[in-house]
């Protein structure tokens, strides 16, 4: 060629970037995370999660929410996150199969970033979603912790479980995508996995170590116990979840062809972490814990501190000291309404827990036989307040809790009026404290220990009394206190003493004593 080129062609030197695969993996993970968060299922499930959490927080019906027990609240955050876990599984699975679906894998597989690193990036893309879950759990817990009535101690490991489960299911989604690249794989695996899990757990029953292999172990009970008696291996479980996620991620990377020394080392470490976690969470409740639970149930005094306020003494487990003032208010109001010696009788309010064999389920608390000692539960707010009031009033009238069980005469009227009249809204409290939420007929009224049986006539009298001005009834109660608290007084006499007209069709005396 004879043409003289008078200007050298411009050649752009390739930009020297160096090889930093980790940075590339992170960049890809960030990209995939952004894609993930705008997926409709993820977005929708996120919306539902936020909605249900907000509903739990702001729901007006549960007054008990004002008195949260933080070491129960922490694990109550877990089941809700399963929603996001399912969404994460499906969407990460679909995303990891995207390039296969669109036939770009043949192209991408020869790019600088190896397939296994892309696998890792897909798994890491769940991290922001897990972070959102963590934020949700933190808000739910923080909201409860900021309530003035909050007691107990939350556990970080319990709070971390929800986000870790989201992470785990995302990693599982990637692994399934790599193991069975057919698009049908993901959803079908979820269904088959769910059913298999149900079968396995029904076959092995409630074995402790197998139960704890589940991602979420939510043992819920209506009777919270002190946090040091819970004995939930939450930290080990979190380690197990982290280890399991890492192991699954490493398997996914190995399946996609990763063979670097670092990856193998991480696999070994992750396996170690998982095994340690399993080993740590597997042993059931040890003997010392069971003994401690039994003792805390039978002789709670040894674990408690007491404080004397006015006429009475208030004893609670260390974590519940904040509620003593609330108890005192109720006790004082009842004693102000009572007459005779009961108005000034010194009471001991004793917080108690039932015998705990396992965390799940409800057990009843046996009534005390010490005179003047009243049981308080480990929950407060809502219906627990009038229930406690029934307990206080019945001890004031009958002497001790054991005697209350045998109380099936007109004293019930006095007890129920005392307990309900001390409430802010007596009629509503009366309705709710009765097991069938009724205002007429015979029913059982709840108390911290044994319930109190009410006949239809007693119900009628109490209802009539609650409808009248407080001062009038109080004066009559104080004036006839001895007769009103005597087991020999008839219902008709009680009605007469308190100024309630007799029933038209006579009285069903002793109706509540049939049992």
């Amino acid at each position: 060629m004879s043409t003289v080129i008078d200007k050298a062609p411009t050649v752009f030197a390739p930009v020297e970037t160096g090889r930093r695969p980790a940075a590339a993996v992170l960049a890809l993970a960030r990209f995939e995370a952004r894609e993930l968060l705008v997926q409709i299922p993820v977005f929708f499930f996120l919306l539902v999660y936020v909605g249900t959490t907000a509903w739990k927080l702001f729901s007006p019906r549960e007054d008990m929410n004002n008195y949260p027990i933080l070491h129960d609240v922490d694990r109550a955050t877990q089941p809700g996150t399963l929603l996001l876990a399912v969404a994460a599984f499906i969407c990460v699975n679909v995303a990891a199969l995207r390039s296969r679906r669109h036939g770009t894998d043949r192209h991408f597989d020869v790019l600088v970033l190896e397939p296994w690193r892309r696998t890792v990036a897909h798994a890491l893309s769940v991290v922001p979603l897990a972070a959102v879950t963590a934020l949700g759990a933190a808000i739910e817990f923080g909201w409860a912790a900021l309530k003035p009535g909050a007691v107990g101690h939350g556990s970080v490991a319990e709070l971390a479980t929800g986000p870790l489960v989201v992470l785990l299911s995302g990693v599982l989604g990637v692994l399934i995508a790599r193991l069975c690249p057919r698009l049908a794989g993901g959803p079908l695996v979820v269904v088959v996995g769910f059913a298999t899990l149900m079968v396995v757990s029904s076959v092995v029953g409630q074995t402790h170590w197998l139960t704890w292999l589940h991602p979420v172990v939510s043992e819920t009970s209506n009777n919270p116990i002190p946090s040091d008696l819970l004995g939930r291996p939450a930290a080990w479980h979190a380690l197990y979840l982290v280890g399991l996620s890492a192991v699954l991620l490493c398997v996914a990377a190995l399946v996609s062809g990763g063979r670097t020394r670092l990856l193998k080392a991480i696999t070994v470490v992750a396996l170690g972490a998982m095994v340690t976690g399993i080993a740590g969470q597997s042993p059931g409740d040890d003997a010392a814990l069971i003994t401690a639970r039994t003792k805390a149930s039978s002789t709670p005094a040894a674990f408690q501190s007491c404080v004397a306020h006015g006429r009475s003494t208030y004893c609670s487990f260390p974590e519940w000291t904040g509620w003593r003032d609330d108890w005192e208010k109720v006790v004082d109001r009842i004693q102000d309404l009572a007459g005779g010696g009961a108005g000034g009788a010194p009471l001991t309010i004793r917080q108690r827990i039932p015998v705990v064999h396992q965390l799940e389920g409800d057990a009843a608390i046996e009534p005390l036989h010490t005179p003047g000692e009243v049981t308080a539960g480990t929950r407060w707010g809502g219906n627990r307040v009038p229930e406690f009031a029934v307990g206080v009033a019945s001890v004031l009238v009958a002497g001790d809790e054991q005697a209350v069980s045998k109380m099936c005469d007109a004293r019930v009227v006095t007890v129920m009026w005392l307990a309900m009249a001390a409430q802010d809204d007596p009629m509503t409290a009366f309705r709710h404290v009765r097991l069938d939420d009724s205002l007429s007929g015979s029913a059982v009224a709840l108390a911290p220990t044994n319930p109190v049986g009410m006949s239809a006539e007693q119900t009628r009298i109490v209802r009539a009394l609650l409808g009248r001005p407080l001062y009038g009834v109080t004066a009559r109660v104080k004036a006839h206190w001895t007769e009103l608290t005597s087991p020999r007084t008839s219902e008709a006499r009680v009605a007469e003493l308190l100024g309630v007209p007799a029933a038209k069709n006579g009285t069903g005396a002793g109706e509540s004593c049939q049992k």
Partner: protein, 221 residues
């Protein structure tokens, strides 16, 4: 009538290749797991209850429905879009080929559950039918409203997400109730309503559109 004869000949010629073109792997996996899951109830010994069998049968229902979500996938869609054989005929024949197999699968699954713990067959069958109809309607909608040759994966994922969401519904409008639940009959009325709603909707979605976005086309007139 020559048209009837021609149509019959066409259908007869169409059946073998359609049979071969069905997404067998997915259908096989779904059918296999749908029969294998209830078989577990027989395999594992011990006094299991109806609730246990119900969980397995419901898993089988969902598995079958997930498989059916792939039924209308056609990798060669872009080629077959311009043929004179209508889509409603092609997809209807696919359905006709698969429905007996699905019924067989379901019967086997039902029979594999020991009789003494088997939930009411009719009611559970209704659930299965409604879920299957929902999956097929989803697939028909995906085929009609997108150009995607294989929308099954997305339909299946959506179906699963909907199923999971449904289990979270409040008790008075949920579909998956326990056998012992007093709301069993009411829930199955809801299942029946779901089935009655989805079947005509799915049928309406099967044919190709002759007009595109009628409302929009109108505004341009």
């Amino acid at each position: 009538m020559p048209e009837v004869g021609a149509a019959y000949a066409r259908v007869r010629a169409l059946l073998p290749p359609l049979w071969r073109a069905l997404p067998w792997r997915v259908l096989g996996a779904a059918g296999g797991s749908a029969t294998a899951l209830p078989a577990l109830a027989r395999l594992v010994s011990g006094g299991h209850d109806t609730a246990f069998a119900l969980i397995l049968l419901r898993s089988a229902e969902v598995a079958l429905a997930l498989g059916l979500a792939f039924l209308l996938d056609d990798p060669a869609r872009h080629i077959t879009v311009a043929v004179p054989t209508r889509r409603v005929l092609r997809n209807g024949l696919r359905l006709a080929l698969v429905v007996p197999l699905v019924l067989l699968c379901w019967t086997v699954a039902l029979l594999l559950v020991p009789g003494e713990i088997r939930p009411p067959a009719g009611d559970v069958g209704l659930e299965a039918a409604a879920l299957a109809a929902l999956a097929l309607t989803g697939a028909a909608a995906a085929v009609r409203f997108t150009d995607e040759p294989q929308p099954g994966a997305v339909v299946a994922a959506t179906l699963l997400a909907v199923t999971v969401l449904e289990t979270l519904l409040p008790e008075r409008c949920t579909l998956f109730v326990d056998v012992a639940d007093p709301g069993w009959a009411a829930a199955h009325q809801r299942w029946a309503v779901l089935l009655l709603l989805t079947v005509p909707m799915g049928a309406a979605l099967l044919p190709e559109r002759i007009r595109r976005r009628r409302a929009l086309a109108w505004t341009h007139r």
